[in-house]
Amino acid sequence: MASNEKSYAPGQHPDLPAPTNLVGPIAWIRGNLLSSPTNIVLTALAAWFLYTILPSTLNWLFFDAVFTGEDRNACRAAGEGACWAFIGERFKLFTYGFYPLEQRWRVNLSFVLLCLAMVPVLFDKVPYRQYGLYYAMAFPFIAGWLLVGGNILVLELPIVPTDKFGGIMLTLVIGVTGIAFSLPLGILLALGRSSRLPLIRIFCIGFIEFIRGVPLITLLFVASTMLSYFLPPGTKFDLLLRVLIMVTLFASAYMAEVIRGGLQAIPNGQIEAGDALGLKYWPAMRLIVLPQALKISIPGIVNTFIGLYKDTTLVIIIGLLDPLGIGRASLSDPKWTGLSNEVYLFVALFFFISCFAMSRYSLYLEGKLETGHKR
């Protein structure tokens, strides 16, 4: 198709539509599903697999499922599907644990405040972000007061003992506390580990290595039983608070190592440039090194967050009831026997939604922080 004469002046060639075999649904199918013999076989296998399992799964999940009912018999009568009525009936328990009924507005309010606090943290284009961030920093303490009660200045709320906490609310309390405090702690530990002052360095290395060398369950046992031997007799030290501290310390040790990896990736020249401009240690870290190091560490940081969030289920072992604990306790109700599938699926779905959201957000953040310096 080589034509000798040019139909356009140099530089004036218009954009032509792409050939039809490059765009459109058919091209997509060809390119992605049928591009090679192996691909064709795999596509066929996948289609067959979906064909065999999808109908029965959907039937069980939705079409034959029972969504309302008084007890197990309501479900039996209707047939083979899932008995979501059970989850429906226990939904409040799954959400609030044993938090007193007439005080549950405090949990709801805390949740609304949590959502508000996350907006300025997660998105940087919100108006008055500065103040939003101050609020977000204060949030854990506000929520702590709201949920536990007590009086601050003139405000007074009835005290709810923390052993009434449970369910999704407990997971969020532990997860959010762990996430909010382990990141700054991890940053300090990572910086301390590369400090020039031997005392600080040795302390940080010792702390990180100790925590990483001990399973979280062990730490939780220490928190629930042994700690009372070390503390002066008669001191009351709330079990949930101990758990929060242990979970935070545990996550911060991992966080420190993730961030140290990021710190090591920052070329020395960056610090030298900061030094040469007269920046002191903390401004140089805050303005130059950490923004870059944290950006590199985002996948690892979010990974640690997700790990921490899922590890909150381990508190069952020391008698706190998170959604999984509540689910297992509900299974022994004689009115609703044999519904473990529904319970575990529901709990899995709850965790999956939270963790998947975190993972998607981390991808979004990575994309947004990309400034084209990977050339």
């Binding site: 070329p267 020249g269 960056q270 030298e272 440039a273 030094d275 040469a276 401009l277 007269g278 920046l279 002191k280 401004p283 303005l287 130059i288 923004p291 870059q292 950006k295 922080l369 400034t371 084209g372 310096h373 990977k374 050339r375």
Partner: protein
């Protein structure tokens, strides 16, 4: 003082030598562990003077100029910059670093900040300049290095020559009295070298005190007051550019010149 003329400097220097020295290095030694990298360095730079430092790879050129703003620590002898002696005293180090700008071979721009933010960072956080003033000053210097239109881009989106000019502007934003350059053009393609050298020549003409490690002999001939040749950690020879290039004294210098001028 950057705008003082040479003549004025010369007179003052005659009257009161030490008071007017921008940099005074006396009998300075430095070791890296066992390795004696700088040996008995003596160098006095009056303000407004432009000095070019050259020498073979590994001769200690970078190490020497990095000692001047204490990116490297020396073990023996004195370094006095603008009347302030460099010791372990952090206050002194901070004072010196505020007065001394440095441009690196690999630019060392902050990749997560825009060009403008690169330039305003130090004035805002070190000099505590209000942001609007810092931005104004930064735009002035970006204009001087001829890239004001790139102010809102990230360093990764610029060419090497543009990045190095940003690095120069970033240093100038701190209003330094002394500028150190460590091979500012050796990571650049030939066509970009000129745009960076042009900026440096302009700076020299304005009377900035400059120490420049470079092998750009054309640049040395145009702007340098003195050329210093280093080898194996010592200053072997120092002279005016004319005499240095036309009548080198030492065999080592002759060999070096024949090597770099041969291509």
């Amino acid at each position: 003082m950057p705008n003082q003329t040479d003549g004025a400097n010369q007179n003052q220097a005659d009257q009161n030598q030490n008071a007017n020295l921008a940099i005074n290095i006396v009998a300075m030694h430095k070791w890296y562990g066992e390795f004696h990298v700088l040996k008995d360095i003596n160098l006095a730079v009056t303000s407004g003077e432009r000095i070019v430092i050259c020498g073979p790879s590994g001769s200690g050129k970078s190490t020497m100029i990095r000692c001047i703003n204490r990116l490297e620590e020396h073990q023996q002898g004195d370094i006095i910059v603008d009347g302030v002696e460099l010791t372990n005293d952090l206050k002194n180090i901070e004072t010196v670093r505020r007065e001394v700008g440095m441009v690196f071979q690999h630019f060392n721009l902050f990749p997560h900040l825009t060009v403008l933010e690169n330039c305003t960072l130090a004035p805002i956080w070190v000099r505590k300049t209000p942001k609007s003033e810092a931005v104004e000053a930064a735009m002035k210097y970006l204009e001087r290095v001829k890239i004001p239109e790139q102010a809102n881009k990230f360093p990764g989106q610029l060419s090497g020559g543009q990045q190095q000019r940003v690095a120069i502007a970033r240093s100038l934003c701190m209003n330094p009295r002394i500028m150190l350059f460590d091979e500012p053009t050796s990571a650049l393609d030939p066509e970009m070298i000129k745009e960076v050298l042009d900026v440096m020549v302009e700076l020299a003409q304005e009377g900035m005190t400059m120490l420049c490690v470079t092998h750009e002999m054309g640049f040395a001939k145009t702007v340098a007051n003195r050329v210093i040749f280093m080898d194996v950690g010592e200053i072997i020879e120092e002279n005016t550019p004319d005499r240095f290039f036309d009548h080198p004294q030492h065999d080592r210098t002759k060999l070096f010149l024949s090597q770099i001028l041969s291509h």
